[in-house]
């Protein structure tokens, strides 16, 4: 038996840097440092663990959509241990929304061939957290999402979803789409050996025509949502800071009382 895992990853602006919008109100990806979205590292890690714990012949492919620089995200995943990578790159993709992203991912996943798709819980830039559900809808396969524990055995994926009001145990037959949270287990650091090996691993490049997608289905023009304005939030006005000289608790209580909280 073989098991083909596709891990979707995103190259995002560094959240610890200054993130902003470009003139066309898309996320500025040119003037900022980017990296593999931290939340996708957990997806790569879980895919590698599934691979290591399996008796099957497992192949882990990482897939990303994005400009040239997005290859950095693929290289990081390859150096962690993924086997190969696919980079979907096309100028017409600029400004694609979540619905369009799910179309491109689904087409690329189908073209690559898959038994299991593993995604992170959300990107750290858009933070919608809906792409895995959309990809499952597109592919017509079960969604087993927001897992803090995941395992695959005999063609079945099982996992634990810690929801707002309950913890649920989930189960579905492959093929399926899984997403994992930051509670699923710390991602490994690439080893020196891994980094060297990654340089020899294949990275395939596809454009929209390879995926038989028309340019007007994606990009800013094909987006079904429109950002009309983006305004930088005014810095909060400086508040009162006091040093505790034994009266800090009392002073804080007075502030809270003045604001009618007590």
């Amino acid at each position: 038996m073989s098991l083909r895992i596709v891990v979707t990853v995103k190259y995002v602006p560094d959240a610890t840097g200054d993130r902003h919008f470009a003139d066309d109100l898309t996320v500025d990806r040119d003037d900022v440092d980017g990296l593999l979205s931290e939340l996708d590292e957990y997806a790569v890690e879980q895919a590698l663990q599934i691979s290591e714990n399996s008796d099957d012949d497992v192949e882990v492919t990482v897939l990303t959509i994005g400009p040239e620089d997005a290859k950095d995200a693929l290289r990081k995943a390859l150096s962690m241990g993924a086997d190969k990578a696919i980079h979907v790159e096309d100028d017409d993709l600029h400004g694609t929304d979540a619905i369009g992203t799910s179309l491109v991912l689904a087409k690329a996943i189908e073209k690559a061939g898959y038994d299991l798709v593993v995604s992170g819980m959300a990107s750290t830039d858009g933070t919608m957290g809906v792409v895995p559900a959309l990809v499952a809808e597109r592919l017509g396969v079960p969604q087993v999402t927001l897992l803090s524990e995941v395992s695959v055995e005999d063609g079945t994926v099982k996992g634990r979803r810690d929801g707002d009001s309950a913890t649920e145990q989930l189960e579905a037959s492959l093929p399926a789409v899984v997403s994992v949270t930051d509670q699923s287990g710390e991602a490994r650091y690439p080893s020196f050996k891994g980094i060297m090996a990654a340089k020899k691993k294949p990275v395939q490049s596809w454009d929209l025509s390879d995926l038989e997608i028309d340019a007007d289905e994606v990009g800013l023009a094909g987006a079904w949502t429109k950002v009309e304005t983006a305004t930088e939030r005014p810095a909060r006005t400086a508040g009162t800071i006091v040093k505790d000289e034994g009266e800090g608790g009392k002073q804080l209580a007075e502030f809270l009382a003045s604001q009618k909280f007590i």
Partner: protein
Amino acid sequence: MAEVLVYVDHVDGAVRKPTLELLTLARRVGEPVAVALGNGAGDTAATLAEHGAVKVLTHEASEYADYLVVPKVDALQAAVESVSAAGSLAAVLVPSSAEGKEIAARLALRIGSGIITDAVDLEAGDEGPVATQSVFAASYTTKSRISKGTPVITVKPNSAAVEAAPAAGAVEALTVSFSDKATGTKVTGRTPRESTGRPELTEAAIVVSGGRGVNGAENFAIIEALADSLGAAVGASRAAVDAGWYPHTNQVGQTGKSVSPQLYIASGISGAIQHRAGMQTSKTIVAINKDAEAPIFELVDYGVVGDLFDVVPALTEEVKARKG
């Protein structure tokens, strides 16, 4: 007047507060029609009517609890089709829970509509509803609208006031036929989260959070004591959760809950970007931290530089004394 579908988040018929907030926003855009699914769906009608629901579409079936997400998408799609056939549909509003966003996204794709998630405000516009969102760890505010299909919008808790607005709330049974995908992901076990007796983190008017400075699971008792004196929910930073001091369900920040209470009290939290992303839109922010240089102090309305083990218990006593 066009109708607005409001997806009802309820537990065995008890409607959760974010749904009532959605009804306030829905009334700005059209006539609210609520959709309540699963066990106790029929019991939601009275509360929904009090808050403006003109109609309540209900459907009870075991599939909603036994399988993940898709049965609810099937039902919401049936509601969209039924309302659209009878008149016009202005928007579909869904509470921004993890599950709510997944339901909304799949629905949007099926009905050929755009989706906006995590709105913090909603107003009527010439070309359809305009949603306000807070992005990049709340450093930007955007206004967006949906340019294709019926707008599907998820709204974060605490985005609007709950308002009494009595309406008919006529209950109608919704006809749902489940798709063959509905039973794809089976829920084989469910353990309800134990109630702490405190308000829901995302819905609370006051949140008291502890971070690295709390320095141990047992020390969270002093954070909880302050929270209880104020009737607040308890939050924790990622550092505190990763250290195993407090459950992940209470994590505030990018990979945890995003909260927007009237008052947020951060104790022993430095205020890293990951944390700020989850609390920066709070109305009033207060911090207690030993380090005067901690970035959290850039956000505060009132800050105390000091040892939280001195300041927090003193504050708790003072609150109790003032409340009598």
